[in-house]
């Protein structure tokens, strides 16, 4: 099983413990450079950037840029990369990263074809690597490392894990949690696509055994059945930490894609009712609105004390 904390922080005996290097693929693009800057400001150790044809240059006069991922990995030994290239170039960028030895790949682009995601995922499985996304805001341990595009403001270090398909709802709900005194141990953006490199159940496996974990928040939305699978897994595994869910899209019409490629109800497959009823079965309350999440969580924590 993937130890996501070890991937993001390293081992205590490592010389770069809590300062693991991150490579930014597409660092010279408008989007890539903005977020490379924001990540550095947040404290993430961005050790290299990659843009073909720009090798030898430096990003903000400090981060070396390479032409290829192989060169960047050889020079930095980094195991984490974040991709900002346009969707149609995602598969090539992902292959390059995985072949070069990247073990945690954060895939930001939206509109990646499903087949490309599946191919990248097959390669990641062969290489023993993890893909977060595509179409994800990324992953972060608040106040330590951010590999993503999320604003810093909503998040605070703490002991609640937040798993979310949506980006802005992750910010909104983390903000509400922070304001209620619930900091976050880790937040993982699953992504809004039909096929996720890390599914809700995989993300759950990553966080369920955190010793200091005080609660889990699941932010789902219509489409697919990953919320149902997670609810079943929580029942089967006997997970007892206070857990609260939120599901967006109750009022969405059927057979319409609601912004995210994955947010579509086909027949009854993917409906909000199905997800809510599975969470109810798992004894997980489902908030009606984002602001209700910390209220329900506080209630759950009180009961478990």
């Amino acid at each position: 099983m993937t130890d996501i904390f070890e991937l993001l922080k390293g081992k205590p005996e490592d010389s770069d413990y809590k300062k693991k290097g991150v490579i930014v693929q597409g660092i010279t693009g408008a989007y890539g450079s903005l977020h490379a800057h924001n990540m550095i400001t947040y404290g993430t150790n961005v050790v290299a950037g990659v843009t073909p044809g720009k090798g030898g240059q430096k990003f903000e006069e400090s981060v070396p840029i390479y032409n290829t991922m192989q060169e960047a990995v050889d020079a930095t030994k980094a195991k984490i990369s974040i991709i900002f290239v346009p969707a149609k170039f995602f598969l090539a960028a992902a292959k390059e990263a995985l072949e070069a030895g990247i073990k945690l790949l954060v895939a930001i682009p939206e509109h990646v074809p499903i087949r490309d995601t599946m191919e990248a995922l097959n390669l990641a499985n062969q290489k023993g690597a993890v893909i977060i996304g595509p179409n994800t805001p990324g992953i972060m341990i608040p106040e330590l490392i951010k590999v993503g595009i999320m604003p810093a403001m909503p998040f605070k270090a703490g002991n609640i894990a937040v798993l979310s398909k949506s980006g802005t709802l992750l910010y909104e709900i983390s903000d509400a949690l922070t304001n209620s005194g619930f900091g976050q141990s880790i937040t993982i953006g699953i992504g809004g696509d039909p096929i996720n490199g890390t599914r809700l159940i995989d993300a759950f496996e990553m966080v369920k055994d955190i010793p200091s974990l005080e609660g889990l928040v699941i932010v789902g939305e219509i489409g697919g059945d990953s919320e149902e699978m997670l609810a079943q897994k929580i029942i089967d595994s006997g997970f007892k930490k206070p857990t609260v869910a939120y599901i967006a899209g109750r009022a969405a019409p059927k057979e319409k894609r609601m912004g995210h490629a994955g947010a579509i109800v086909m027949g009854t497959y993917g409906s909000a009712e199905s997800k809510v009823s599975m969470f109810n079965k798992a004894n997980i309350p489902v908030a009606k609105r984002p602001a209700e999440v910390p209220v329900l969580l506080a209630g759950k924590i009180e009961k478990s004390d």
């Binding site: 509109h111 087949r115 604003p151 096929i195 697919g224 969405a252 912004g259 009854t268």
Partner: protein, 368 residues
């Protein structure tokens, strides 16, 4: 995108899947010509992007001209689950021995294409009994696997080869056109034991559209949806009167839910994308101004790094240019919100500190 039955069948035909003779038409004049070409008896089938057509009266048998003249306009005028007829398909009658079910679909949680087959087809998938389910990775189906499915379904003799042939062609089509779902229901065994696709459902991956110019002709978008796409927004038109705008699909969905919970009816879902700028919000207001039924605009922006003053400028510009005269109920989370509120004083845009307040105000205060 989701193809209509006749469009799915065009692809089936191209890939050599057996079909009955059929022709699609947009009006009765065209239909009359097709009726002559095809010859009675045939079936009139409404073309809508939803299921349950049969129950709603959208599939009618025709034996002669009188029946045709009566039934064609009736079927054409139907609205099924809110969807009007896009076309009418005339299809020859079938002499069926047995109805099967077959589909290849993208199983999202398994992250694998999956075959579902059953010897008891012709009903909606939820009711299909004795489903045979096989995961097939990226969609490739070998002869051996196809034969295994046929055997498990209890098919015999000539039908086995017909089924294998159909499944392999469906697999090729699914892979080459990057489908999320390819369904034949019913797949029929005819009196002479040949296999035929009597219906077809085909959903492709919109994100792969750029690799499929040949499928562009099946794209069905309203003018406003097309404009939105050009601006990099996603917009879904709905039938209420309060336009809902926000940044991020999840946030906008959540706003729709809360609006509906409070008795409001959304006129559209409009996601302007992760960030929000003066230009993007102005562009969103431009799109909304073209939707006539809108009586109020509900804006929910969560910007960690967005300056709300930048968004306020867009509203002011929209009033100044007479783009809109509608009340706007906005919740703007971000920096400089006090300054933004001051800027908008006296205008028809009101800023609220919580989305709940903005929603209540929108339901109560939309244009009468």
């Amino acid at each position: 995108m989701q193809l209509l039955e006749f469009q799915a069948k065009e692809l089936f035909r191209e890939y050599g899947i057996n079909l009955l003779d059929s022709i699609s038409s947009k009006n009765i004049e065209e239909g009359r010509k097709h009726a002559k070409q095809l010859g009675y008896p045939f079936v009139i089938k409404i073309q809508v992007p939803v299921g349950g057509r049969g129950k709603a009266g959208g599939i009618q048998k025709c034996q002669n001209d009188d029946e045709f003249e009566l039934k064609y306009p009736q079927v054409m005028d139907l609205t099924i689950k809110g969807e009007k007829a896009r076309a009418i398909l005339l299809e020859k009658m079938a002499d069926i021995k047995k109805e099967l079910y077959l589909s290849l679909f993208l199983n999202r949680s398994k992250r694998s294409y999956t075959i579902i087959a059953s010897a008891e087809g012709g009903v909606e998938i939820e009711s299909v009994k004795n489903q045979i389910i096989k995961e097939v990775g990226l969609g490739e189906v070998s002869d051996e696997l196809a034969r295994e499915v046929a055997n498990e379904m209890g098919l015999q003799g000539k039908t086995v080869d017909g089924f294998i042939d159909t499944l392999k062609k469906l697999s090729k089509l699914t892979i080459e056109k990057e489908a999320e779902l390819a369904e034949i229901n019913p797949l029929a065994i005819m009196q002479d034991d040949t296999i035929m696709a009597l219906d077809g459902k085909f959903v492709t991956d919109d994100n792969s559209n750029f690799r499929h110019p040949e499928l562009q002709k099946y794209q069905e978008k309203t003018e406003i949806e097309e404009q939105a796409e050009k601006s990099g927004f996603s917009l879904v038109e709905l039938d209420g009167d309060i336009a809902v705008v926000g940044n991020g699909a999840g946030l906008v969905m959540s706003t729709l839910d809360m609006l509906s919970d409070n008795g409001g009816k959304p006129a559209c879902f409009l996601d302007v994308g992760g960030g929000a700028t003066t230009e993007s919000v102005y562009e969103a207001l431009t799109l909304i101004s073209r939707i006539n039924r809108v009586k109020g605009i509900l804006v929910n922006l969560y910007g960690g790094i967005v300056k709300t003053t930048v968004v306020a400028e867009a509203f002011l510009k929209a009033y100044e240019n007479n783009l809109i005269d509608l009340p706007v109920f906005a919740r703007l989370k971000g920096t400089e919100s006090e300054k933004a509120k001051k800027m908008l004083e006296g205008s028809r845009t009101k800023i609220y500190s919580s989305v709940e307040e903005a929603i209540n105000a929108a339901v109560m205060g939309k244009k009468k």
